[in-house]
């Protein structure tokens, strides 16, 4: 798809390819959903286990998100599509 340039800044005419979601991104989003819902589900399943809430959900899960995005954006290729 060809896009009109913005008069103010860009003189070039960049294009945006409407592509499928790269497979790493797709699996990254799946991982994000599973990790989040799973962690919250476990927290609700064991509502009295404060130590678990603290260590897993407030400390480990944000670090896992960080790991997930590091993994998800690595070595992308144009034809690396989910479908």
């Amino acid at each position: 798809m060809h896009l009109r340039p913005t008069a103010a800044v860009s003189e070039a005419s960049p294009t945006i390819e409407v592509t499928a979601l790269p497979s790493r991104s797709f699996w990254g989003v799946v991982g994000l959903v599973v990790l989040t819902v799973g962690s919250l589900g476990l927290a609700w399943l064991f509502p009295d286990n404060t130590m678990f809430h603290f260590l897993w959900v407030t400390q480990a899960v944000p670090l896992l998100y960080f790991w997930l995005i590091c993994w998800g954006i690595q070595t992308r290729h144009p034809n690396d599509a989910a479908s």
């Binding site: 130590m51 809430h53 407030t58």
Partner: protein, 666 residues
């Protein structure tokens, strides 16, 4: 290596870090030498604002590419730092610790707890990196409405997106300006209004002169201030409480004690009697609100009798004023009286529903709190990935890969701050449960007196059962800015108050900078020049953006100083609105070839309208005017801030249907 590091951002980071540590050490020495606390704290305020303004002056520019997108050559680490500072707002930096401390991890069975905020705010960056960052960078646009307008080749889409961006960013901006006013007035001792305008001067000097270029550099430095203040403060508190600087370990060590103490408090008969009194008061308020005219009359007669008796007994003026502060006496408008009663009821409800430890008493099965938590996580994640002032940071890097890497940097920094914030909440909880609960009202811990009596009160205590002892339900903590009182609670040097406030100020200022640029650019680029002067010269575009930036800043400051703002509520609403307005159209627009302008318009209108309706219909003021009950207007019992959970599916559905139908017609 995935994160290629160039040397100069590291130098910037290290110089900023070392400079801040040196400044903190110097002020620690000054504090020990007896320099007044006001001077030490004021130094942080003045030094911060002057520093940010100086960066703005050095980076001043009228080159459009520099002003709007920082020349598109910012490195991934610096862009990540700027994104993190842009994102870490007054609510998320100041508010998260207080929220975890007050509402616990899994909530009270009705409302979401702190875990929902923590996961939603961090997980959203994964979505941003996976779905949007690289694609936006490829487009070489300057604003999100510009991107959407070009993607769908439609001025109407751009126009609508511009108004959506202005609305979301304005709601967010007012909360930030309010936060800035609180911090600045606390640090300087000035009034709230003067604090707002003082800090606003710093923002304007930065973003007005240098646009995105100056804002990027300022946000880089602000990021250092935010991280250092949170990490150093956490380490200091950890050292004070457990004798070592490892804050997570200290929190783990404190948790068993907190749980044991929480069980004792929950079983305490005095605590139970306090809760009974609170329930009775709530019931009385419900009765009053059911027949407010009659209740007001009765209350007024009671106040008249009490005041007459007090005067006869030669009571002090303060005691008489306290009697006359009864809303039934003070408020002439029935709406305002009912509103005052509603607020009183909410405060009472917090007293009994808030968990003593970090979890509410066990409730079996699915409950409202769980639905609200899940809905809030969805709104915050999608909102983070769709906030216009965060998305525009994808334009400022040179390549799509750099845009993605900068998201990784931003998430890393935010995670570091949040790991400290959640550990800090645990350590502070131990102070509240072990030192404050159970103490005699005449012999409160010194920090409690100070937090109660300061100009910006962080704590209030009401002895509901009149036993002279503080019960947990008697305590009201002001979550939004409680963390500013940490140095007093933990008896660490007052220099940390200044450092923490400098971090809070940096968080609020950096977000306000980004929001102001987003709003003014939407007004100038996407609304005015797009329609009225499409061939205007570049210099005129930059100048109009600058003028609009100043106007918007002043308007937001005026709004923030004229009415109290719940920072967390406003910010969460902004996330919901951004998610509903932009997430569906961006997702479908980037990844589905069939999406067209009709679908884009329908996606934005339906998402935004539905979310606005849900937030508006459940606002106490609207409910009071239209005589509605929350049970009639809440869908599935979800809080109004979760409006995005309805808006996003509506946007996706209408975007799909609109595109399909219009393509069939064509």
């Amino acid at each position: 290596m995935m994160l290629r590091l160039k040397s100069w951002p590291w130098r910037l980071l290290l110089v900023g870090f070392a400079g801040l540590l040196l400044l903190t050490l110097l002020l620690l020495v000054a504090d020990f030498a007896g320099v007044p606390k006001g001077v030490v704290n004021g130094f942080f305020l003045v030094a911060s604002i002057i520093g940010y303004a100086l960066i703005g002056m050095f980076c001043r520019t009228t080159v459009p590419e520099e002003y709007f997108v920082a020349g598109r050559n910012i490195s991934a680490p610096l862009n990540g730092m700027a994104t993190a500072a842009d994102w870490l707002s007054a609510a998320s930096f100041i508010g998260l610790t207080g929220l975890l401390l007050s509402d616990g991890f899994v909530g009270d069975g009705q409302h979401p707890g702190g875990l929902a905020y923590l996961l939603g705010w961090t997980g959203g960056f994964c979505l941003l990196g996976f779905l949007f960052a690289a694609k936006l960078n490829l487009s070489q646009s300057i604003t999100i409405p510009d991107f959407l307008g070009r993607r769908f080749d439609s001025a109407a889409v751009r126009w609508l997106a511009a108004w959506g961006a202005i609305l979301c960013s304005s709601v967010y901006l007012v909360a930030q300006i309010y936060g800035i006013g609180l911090v600045a007035s606390m640090l300087s001792g000035l009034t709230f209004e003067l604090g707002v305008f003082l800090a606003l001067g710093g923002i304007l000097l930065c973003s007005f002169l240098g646009g995105m270029r100056a804002v990027t550099w300022t946000q880089g430095v602000q990021c250092v201030v935010i991280v250092v203040s949170m990490v150093v403060l956490s380490m200091a508190v950890s050292l004070k409480t457990q004798g070592h600087p490892f804050v997570t370990v200290a929190a783990v060590q404190s948790l068993p004690l907190i749980q044991e103490r929480a069980k004792q408090i929950e079983a305490d008969p005095a605590e139970q009697s306090t809760r009974e009194v609170i329930r009775l008061r709530m019931s009385n308020l419900d009765t009053k609100m059911a027949d407010p005219l009659y209740a007001r009359e009765i209350e007024r007669q009671t106040v008249v009798r009490q005041v007459a008796r007090a005067k006869a007994d030669n009571a002090t003026l303060r005691e008489i004023q306290k009697l006359e502060s009864n809303p039934a006496w003070r408020e002439t408008s029935m709406d305002r009286l009912i509103s005052a009663w509603q607020v009183e009821r909410e405060v009472l409800a917090q007293g009994i529903y808030r968990p003593v430890g970090f979890q509410a008493p066990q409730s079996s099965g699915w409950n409202q709190g769980l639905s609200n938590s899940l809905a809030l996580v969805v709104c915050l994640m999608l909102g983070t990935a769709a906030l216009p002032h965060i998305l525009v940071r994808s334009y400022t890097t040179a390549t799509p890969a750099d845009a993605e890497r900068s998201v990784v940097w931003a998430l890393g920094i935010i995670v570091l701050v949040y790991l400290c914030a959640s550990s800090l909440a645990v350590l502070l909880k131990s102070y509240v449960l072990t030192e404050l609960v159970g103490s005699h009202l005449d012999q409160l811990p010194d920090w409690a007196d100070r937090l109660k009596l300061r100009k910006l009160a962080l704590l209030s205590i009401q002895d509901y059962n009149n036993d002279g002892i503080v019960q947990f339900a008697d305590i009201r903590l002001f979550n939004d800015y409680l963390v500013l009182g940490v140095p007093e609670m933990t008896h660490i040097s007052s220099v940390f108050t200044g450092l923490l406030a400098a971090g809070a100020l940096a968080a609020a200022l950096s977000t306000a900078d980004g929001l102001l640029l987003t709003i003014s650019n939407a007004l100038a680029q996407d609304l005015y020049f797009q329609t009225a002067a499409p061939n205007a010269p570049s210099l005129r575009r930059v100048m109009l953006s600058k003028i609009l930036l100043m106007v918007v800043a002043l308007l937001a400051a005026w709004f923030a100083t004229n009415r109290p703002v719940s920072i967390l509520f406003s910010v969460t609403c902004a996330f919901s609105l951004a998610a509903a307005t932009f997430f569906p159209v961006l997702l479908l627009g980037i990844y589905w070839r069939g999406m067209n302008r009709v679908g884009a318009l329908l996606a934005m209108v339906s998402g935004l309208a539905l979310s606005l309706y849900y937030i508006g219909a459940n606002h106490p003021w609207v409910q009071m005017r239209l005589h509605l009950q929350a049970s009639e207007t809440l869908w599935f019992g979800l809080d109004p801030v979760c409006a995005g959970v309805f808006g996003v599916p509506a946007g996706l559905l209408f975007g799909f249907i609109g595109s399909k139908l219009s393509s069939i017609k064509n």
